[in-house]
Amino acid sequence: MSIELITNILAATVVAGTPLLIVALGELICERSGVLNLGQEGMMLIGAVAGFIAVLTTGSLTIGVIAAMAAGVAMALLFALMAVTLAANQYAAGLALTIFGTGLSAFIGAGYVGKTIDGFTKLAIPGLSDIPVLGPVLFNQDLLVYVSLGLFVAVYVFLRHSRGGLLLRAVGESPDSANANGLPVMLIRYLAVSFGGAMAGLAGAYLSLAYTPLWTEGMTAGRGWIALALVVFATWRPERVLLGAYLFGVASILHLVLQGFGWDSSTELLAMLPYVVTIVVLVLLSSNPTRTRLHTPLSLGQPYRPGR
C-alpha cells in the first residue's frame, strides 16, 4: 500500500465518520439528560430532505443547513411532547418518530429524486493542508467536517467544564433530586432533546449536501441506529464518541480499503460490514453488564413527572 492510498483511506474515513459523529454527539447530550431517543434515523432523514430541498430552491448551502437543523428540532419537539410532557414509553415514541420520519421524508422528497445540487466542496486550510498525511486527512475537508470537530470540542467542554453540563448530568442521574434543588427538569430535557434533533438534522444535511449531494429515499441507511450503538460504545463520554465515529467510518468504507488491497468481493456482502461491526462492538461492550450499567445515566429511559 502506498502512502497516497493510506492518506486517501484516512481522509475517506473522516468523511464517513462525520455524520455519525454529529448525530451521536446530539444523542449523547440527549441521553445524558435521561431521555433515550430512538428516533435519530427519522430525524436524520427529515434533516437530509429538508436541507436538500432548501438548497435546491434557494441555492444557498447556509439556508440548507439551517433548514435541516430546524426540521430536526421540529421532529425532536414532537418526540419531546410524547416522551417528556406526556411521559409516554420512550422506546415506542422513538420508534414512532423513526417510522414517521421515514414516511414523511419519502413523501416530501418523492419529487426531488434524481435532482442534483452543488454541495459542499473541499476547503483546504492554507499551510496546514500541506502537512504530509495529516494535512489532507484533517485540513483538506469540507466545511462541515471542521464544524463537526468544533462541535465535538464544544460538547466536551460543556459536559466536563461548565455549569450547564453539570445541571444536565444532574437531571440525567436523578431528576427527583434535581427538581428538589429547584432545577427545571422538564425544560432541561426539552433543550437536550432539541439539541439532539438539531444535530440529527445537521447529520442528515451532511449526507444530502456533502457526502452525496442528492436525495434518495432512506439514504441514511441505518446511520441513526449505528449512532445509538455508538453512544453505548462510548459509555456516554464524548472523547470515545469521536474515536468510535471514525472507527465506524472505517467500517463503512471498508470495501474501498479492501479494493485497495486488491480484494475483489461482492458489493452486497461488503455493504453488510458496518452492521456486522456494530453487532460485534455491542457484544464486546455489553458482555459485562455491570460495566455498562456503571456509566449509564441512572434515569435513562424512565419518564419523569414532576410533583411526585
Binding site: 409516554a88 414512532a96 417510522i99 445509538l228 455491542l282
Partner: protein, 366 residues
C-alpha cells in the same frame, strides 16, 4: 394552567377509544394534507380508503397484503407482551423468503406434494434462525435487542441482495437481479379463484388465534406476561427468563419467516429484491394499534394493509407519491401514542392555588 395528572386507575375506555381516536385524527390530518396539496380532500380520502376495496377483487388484494402483516404482528405481539423490543420482523421476513427460495430453486426437485411444505418449513426455519441470533446475543451477551435486530434487518437485506445478484440469480433472467420463477409444486394454492389471494391468509389468522390462546390459556403465556409486567416478580417466581426470551424470539422469527415464504411462493412466485414493502416495520404499528390482542391485531392489520393499497391508488389515480403509505402509517402511530398517554393521565385545570393542587396530586398518586 393545564396540568397532567396520573389517574388513580388506568382508563379502560381510553384503552379502546385511543386507536379509534388516532384513526380519526389521522384522517383529519390527511384531509388537511390534501388541502395543502391543492387536491379535493374528500376525493383524496375516498381514493385512499374506499376505492381500493370497492370491488371483490379489492377485498382479495386487501387479504393478500394483510397476511404478511398479521403473521409478523402475531409474532411481535409475543415479544412485546414480554417487553422484548424485537424490531427484527423485517429481517426475519426477508430471511424466510431467502430460505424458502433456496429450497424452491433446488434443481431436480420434481413435482411431489411434499415440495411446498418443505419450502414453507425452510422459510420458518430461516426466520427462526435469524431471530435466534438476537435471542442468543441478548441472553448470553446482554445486547440490547433493539439495536441487534435493526442491524440484522440491514444484514438480511444485503444477504437477499447478494442472493439475487449471485447464487440465486436466474441465469436466463436478462441480468435482472431476481431468481428464476418457482415450479408449480412450490406455489401456494389459491384461496379464491380468479384473484391473487392464496392460503397464506389462513396461516396468518391461525397465527393470531395461536397468540390469543397462548396468552389466555397457557402457562407459558402467563409467564411471558409476568416477565413483561414485572421482571423481578418473574425472577422471584422462578420463571426461566432465558427460555422465555428464546421462545418469544423463535416463534416471532418463525411466524415472520413463514410470511416471507408465503410471499415468494404466493403472489410473486420468485425471489425479488422488493419482496417486502416494509411489512416487518409496519407490523410494529399493527401490534400497538391492535392493543396486543388477537382480535385487535387482525383488525389493525386489515387497516394497515389498506394503507398499502391506498398508497398505490394515490399513485395511479391522483398522481401523488406512493410514499403516502408511509406518511399515513407514521401519523397513525404518532397519534396512537399521544392518545395512549391519556390512558394513564388526565388533563386537569390547575387554578390559582398551585400549592393545594400539588397536595391533591401527591395524594392521588397511590
Amino acid at each position: 394552567m393545564l396540568s397532567l395528572e396520573r389517574r388513580p386507575v388506568d382508563s379502560k375506555t381510553m384503552t379502546y377509544a385511543s386507536p379509534v381516536l388516532a384513526l380519526v385524527l389521522t384522517i383529519v390530518t390527511g384531509f388537511l394534507i390534501f388541502l395543502g396539496l391543492d387536491r379535493d380532500p374528500i376525493e383524496g380520502l375516498r381514493h385512499f380508503f374506499i376505492t381500493p376495496i370497492n370491488s371483490s377483487y379489492g377485498w382479495a388484494e386487501l387479504g393478500l397484503k394483510m397476511a404478511p402483516l398479521l403473521l409478523c404482528a402475531a409474532g411481535l405481539t409475543i415479544c412485546y407482551r414480554a417487553k422484548l423490543w424485537n424490531i427484527g420482523a423485517e429481517g426475519h421476513f426477508l430471511m424466510g423468503a431467502v430460505g424458502a427460495s433456496i429450497v424452491a430453486l433446488q434443481p431436480g426437485g420434481g413435482s411431489g406434494f411434499w415440495i411446498l411444505p418443505l419450502v414453507l418449513l425452510a422459510g420458518v426455519a430461516f426466520g427462526a434462525l435469524w431471530a435466534a441470533i438476537a435471542a442468543f446475543l441478548k441472553t448470553h451477551f446482554h445486547c440490547n435487542e433493539i439495536l441487534t435486530t435493526i442491524m440484522l434487518n440491514y444484514i438480511a437485506l444485503n444477504l437477499l441482495l447478494y442472493g439475487v445478484h449471485g447464487p440465486l440469480k436466474d441465469p436466463y433472467g436478462f441480468s435482472f437481479p431476481q431468481s428464476a420463477m418457482f415450479g408449480d409444486s412450490a406455489l401456494l394454492p389459491m384461496l379464491i379463484p380468479g384473484t391473487r389471494l392464496h392460503i397464506g391468509l389462513l396461516f396468518a389468522v391461525l397465527a393470531a388465534v395461536i397468540v390469543g390462546v397462548l396468552f389466555a390459556r397457557t402457562f407459558i403465556g402467563f409467564q411471558l406476561k409476568v416477565l413483561g409486567e414485572d421482571e423481578q416478580a418473574a425472577a422471584f417466581a422462578g420463571f426461566p427468563r432465558k427460555k422465555l426470551i428464546w421462545f418469544a424470539f423463535l416463534v416471532a422469527g418463525g411466524m415472520a419467516g413463514l410470511a416471507g415464504a408465503s410471499e415468494v411462493t404466493g403472489p410473486i412466485g420468485q425471489l425479488v429484491p422488493q419482496v417486502s414493502p416494509g411489512y416487518g416495520y409496519t407490523a410494529i404499528i399493527v401490534v400497538f394499534l391492535g392493543r396486543m390482542k388477537a382480535v385487535g391485531i387482525i383488525l389493525a392489520s386489515a387497516l394497515l394493509a389498506l394503507t398499502f393499497l391506498g398508497g398505490e391508488m394515490m399513485q395511479i389515480s391522483m398522481n401523488l407519491p406512493k410514499a403516502m403509505t408511509g406518511l399515513f402509517q407514521g401519523l397513525l402511530l404518532f397519534y396512537l401514542l399521544t392518545c395512549d398517554a391519556f390512558i394513564h393521565y388526565r388533563v386537569r385545570w390547575i387554578g390559582s392555588r398551585p400549592a393545594v393542587a400539588k397536595i391533591t396530586l401527591a395524594g392521588q398518586e397511590g
